[in-house]
Amino acid sequence: MTSCLRAVAAIFLILWIGGFVSSVEASDLKNTVRNLYGSQGILLEPSPLPFFTQESRFQASSLQGLDQLNTQLTSSIGLPSFGSSVTGFTFDLERGIPIRTTESLGPLLTERATTLGARKLDVTLAYTRLNFTKLQGKDLDDLELVFRRGDVNGNGIQDTDGPFSFESDIIRSRLKVDLDEDIISFIATYGVTSVWDIGIVVPIIHVRLKAKASAAIFDQFGNLGGTRIGGLPIHKFGPQSKCDPSVDPPSSTDVCDAAGGGEETGVGDIILRTKYNFVRNAGGLTPDLAFLFEVKLPTGDEGRLLGTGGTNLGGLFIASKTYGRWFTPHMNVGYEINTKDLEQNSIRYALGFDARLLSKLSFDADVIGRFKPAGNETGKHINDLSLGVKWNPLSAWIIRTNIQIPLDKNSGLRADVIPTVGVEYLF
């Protein structure tokens, strides 16, 4: 009981730390990319008469492009889930003795149907590093956005010749985005009964988002500076374009660099979960079956990129069966509802196994996937390979390591590899 209270006290301590440790550098980290050139998008310098004033001609296009990229980046940031080790017993009816089931320590990122055991408390501290490198298959340090201006003469097309040929000018912006997260997760799972677990995941997140953009004006033939009439540029950057003066000299009118971003630290979205194991040790070919329900609370500040800003509800059906007391294939299938944005609702699935390699060392491998039936193309369907090792050096201690490798980097915001290390203690 003392250990249980200690664990609860630890949760409060982590929340207290997470709640007060925050950066003052950035207050709207989520909109870093969108606001690179200010909240109104790219504004050009007004052209002198007799030309049409051109300052707002790329505004809508740039706002839309930057906002879309911003959303693609920020909506894909998420927290991996963690399953607890199961170190219990099953019963040999013929011999009348319990049999240890600790031969395999369970997978790290997916779930087995078995529960922890009555009045058992499993506490895990895990560290995960996410260094995102790709968005929809494109390198984050070499993104390109092209902004097109509106129709000036109202003929419904962008003229390529004649006096309005400047309608075909474009702004090409090259962006370099550094986005990474360090997540320390405190995970506690408690066995209320032998078949019912409740648990909580409290993530402390440090997120760093830095973006640099270099925009340049081109004419339809690719000439820097855009269309010129009488040697004077129709479109040009100026003071109101919010270029970074440390990079671009005030005299530069055809290139405009900008940078933004910052770092934030705090509590992310807290997850409450419960698992009920409704079929176990049924014999024959029947696997152990369980249902897991989880709620992700909007405790992480969305603006600071620490949370999603909405409540997520998820249900997961779990089947697993141990063969030969060392090999446990498992399957998870479920659905997650994003109450804030129903297009982000997703089908979650995982298929894999965990196996005992040595008496105190187990290995797990899984394919973990997520499919958003109503989602846009960004991260609509992603699959990762998860490989993990668990080591039980002392009686109640378990060391976990895991890497998650994207199987397809052309979908969504992806890291090359996501490493996780952790230590777990079973009270």
């Binding site: 009981m1 249980c4 209270l5 609860v8 949760i11 409060f12 929340l15 709640g19 007060f20 219990g88 017993f89 099953t90 019963f91 009816l93 013929e94 011999r95 009348g96 003795i97 319990p98 240890r100 055991g117 009555a118 009045r119 058992k120 408690y190 066995g191 209320v192 009964t193 032998s194 078949v195 409740i198 909580i200 705090g266 509590v267 807290i270 409450l272 176990r280 040790n281 014999g283 024959g284 609370l297 909007p298 405790t299 500040d301 009686s395």
Partner: protein, 315 residues
């Protein structure tokens, strides 16, 4: 601070619920104090504890899980000796009983969910009684007899160091029922093969005992193979063995009922009865599995009475 007030409210409520579940109300009153030492966290043991609690409503039952660790169990009992003496100790499972037998001599002990308890406590433990998992021998032999009146010779393989006492008792019961036990003693699982081959023309049925030596998986497989080869029905110990091919599987019905039997014994002790007045019990409710596929292969007709009584029929 606004973070805590605005975003943490639902979480704090949830944590309070968790704490509420974790923190149990302490026992109070002058009820009999029973320490329940559980061998490990196993469903069937938890069922037995539930059955025991239900049958011991007036008592305070404090549960301790030794998690399969004998040293942990011994340490707990050592701590127990330095505190207020309990009125009774309940040992759930064979490991808990083994620890209690070693460490406790002066407190009444009731066990539950133990197979072949005499192998652990001998015949002379004066402070111990309990509810075993064993199925009454009478019922097992009677079941074979009901399958076929022609079953007069029942083969048994056993390790004298494990189930010698059980076999002696079974021989007496068999004699009373007019059947004969053909026994072969073995010292290792490998001996089972030769023992079985030696009795192939001497027996009408084979009875698997809860004997750890005989229950090695290769021995059980050979027994089932032997059964099909020589068309000799096998009475197994569980539904699992029936699914593997035994004609019948007979086991205790539930942990809850064994726990309930243990509670009745504990109630007797707390009411002032001596241990001698309360002998070990065997399971009073049974779970019967009949494998009709095996019956077909063996050419055995299962009477309607048996099928009606069966909890599981494998077709």
């Amino acid at each position: 601070m606004s973070f805590l007030t605005s975003r943490m409210t639902p979480f704090i409520v949830a944590v309070c619920i968790v704490v509420g579940v974790i923190v149990c109300a302490p026992p109070s009153g002058e009820a009999a104090k029973i320490i329940a030492l559980k061998s490990a966290d196993v469903d069937v043991y938890n069922e037995a504890l539930e059955g025991f609690r239900t049958g011991s409503q007036g008592s305070t039952v404090i549960e301790y899980d030794m998690e399969g660790d004998f040293q942990k169990g011994k340490k707990f009992l050592a701590q127990l000796k330095s505190g207020p003496r309990p009125d009774l100790i309940l040992a759930v499972g064979i490991w808990a009983l083994q620890v209690v037998v070693e460490e406790v001599q002066d407190i009444p002990v009731v066990f539950a969910m133990v197979l072949n308890p005499t192998t652990v406590i001998g015949q002379e433990a004066r402070n111990i009684t309990g509810a075993s998992m064993n199925v009454p021998i009478e019922q097992q032999l009677a079941l074979l007899n009901k399958i076929s009146p022609h079953v007069r010779r029942i083969g048994v393989i056993y390790d004298p160091s494990k189930t010698g006492g059980l076999v002696k008792q079974a021989e007496r019961v068999a004699k009373d029922q007019g059947v004969r036990l053909i026994t072969k003693a073995v010292a290792s699982p490998k001996d089972s093969f030769a023992a079985l081959d030696a009795m192939q023309d001497e027996i009408d049925a084979l009875w698997i005992l809860p004997d750890p030596t005989v229950l090695a998986s290769e021995s059980v497989q050979y027994m089932l193979l032997f059964s099909f080869r020589h068309k000799i029905p096998v009475l197994g110990l569980s539904e699992n063995q029936a699914r593997m091919g035994a004609l019948l599987g007979l086991s205790f019905e539930s942990g809850r009922d064994i726990g309930s039997q243990a509670a009745e014994l504990a109630g007797g002790i707390l009411a002032g009865k001596s241990i001698e007045e309360l002998p070990f019990t065997t399971a009073r409710k049974m779970r019967l599995t009949v494998n009709l596929k095996s019956a077909g292969k063996l050419g055995v007709h299962i009477p309607r009475e048996i099928l009606d009584r069966a909890d599981v029929v494998i077709r």
